[in-house]
Symmetry: C2
Subunit: 211 residues, 2 copies
């Protein structure tokens, strides 16, 4: 067999670093997809396990409970968004306000492609279990906090560049932007239109926040 060319050490590496964590990763990946589409209580473990072809009994090998799994899914979900926004902000060719506008424009584009389904997992879970699962509440708070801090960074830089007003704190503006975005995502879902989220960005980044 093909694996015979590998010695024991590298075989174990393969199993430990690719296979085993891979299954965990797969579970989290599918967890993101399904929780985003159907919510926490609307998604059964079996559905997730079937999707990644992992036997039911194995779930508790990887996670303590569904609740703990949910908390990890939240963290796993936000990572790419943090990464993407960080990357955009590290681009020295664009001013900070343009970066934020471009970033949100990209999000809007993706949401439009996705038929206004899902929205933001953080927003959905804050509403569904934010006040019933302490574990998930903490995880959500953490994730939102990291994201908010990135927005603060961008807005602070935009203030220094003179494109965003300095008479309001970057923190307050970041919260306003984040909260309005979350609310607009909810509206998007029921209006089945990107109008709410487009208006959100226009009104704030293109209006209220302008220097």
């Amino acid at each position: 067999m093909a694996l015979a060319i590998l010695d024991d050490r590298s075989y174990n590496e393969c199993m430990n670093k690719l296979d085993k964590p891979n299954k965990r990763e797969q579970l989290l990946e599918q967890g993101v997809n399904l929780l985003l589409a159907q919510g926490y209580h609307g998604t059964g473990l079996k559905e997730i396990l079937d999707a990644v072809k992992i036997p039911k009994g194995s779930f508790y090998q990887y996670f303590e409970s569904k609740e703990a799994f949910g908390a990890e899914v939240v963290t796993h979900y936000i990572e790419p968004f943090i990464q993407q926004l960080t990357d955009h902000l590290n681009n020295p060719e664009l001013d900070a306000l343009s970066v934020l506008q471009a970033y949100f424009a990209a999000l809007i584009h993706d949401l439009e492609q996705g038929d206004f389904k899902g929205g933001c997992l953080l927003g959905n879970l804050m509403g569904e279990i934010g006040d019933t699962s302490e574990l998930c509440r903490f995880s959500l708070k953490q994730a939102i906090g990291r994201y908010r801090d990135l927005l603060v960074l961008g807005l602070t830089r935009a203030q220094a560049e003179g494109s965003v007003r300095a008479d309001k704190s970057a923190e307050r503006m970041a919260d306003l932007l984040l909260n309005t975005w979350q609310g607009a995502l909810l509206r998007m879902k029921i209006e089945q239109s990107v109008m709410p989220i487009r208006a959100c960005c226009e009104d704030l980044l293109g209006g209220y926040f302008k220097a």
Copy 2:
């Protein structure tokens, strides 16, 4: 027995207008409470039925399905808010901006008393089932629409009174206020603080919207 003093007609009235619709009303009432506290998929029919002591089989006498029930719960939930806001707006002694500020201040007070639990049923359900149940989506859209129109009315009047800026449309401001409020309610749940919703009102009604 006490009821013997009533003739047939008034007895029937009693049964029809109090007892029977009362049970339907009770179901909706408890539906509001439980769906607000535990979400749609997090609440079983049995839990609602037990709370109002109505047998399982009777549920489908009153409602087509859990989904149809959920849609009606949404409508039943928003009614008092519409009523309260309408009453406030009909008060001729206060200017429209003060009315809005007082109305939201009252909401904030109530939410603080309630330990930041629940938030807004419309927001929670938009996130949880706004894109999976067409029936509820329509009901949510309707409810949000009615509420928004009331905010538009208030803001339009405030514009006419000169307390709110006229260079932005009342519609756009109403949407911004509503969406930010919804997002701030989500934040409230995970931060366990009224700070987000307080900031929302200060930033918009006390800042951005000011003439």
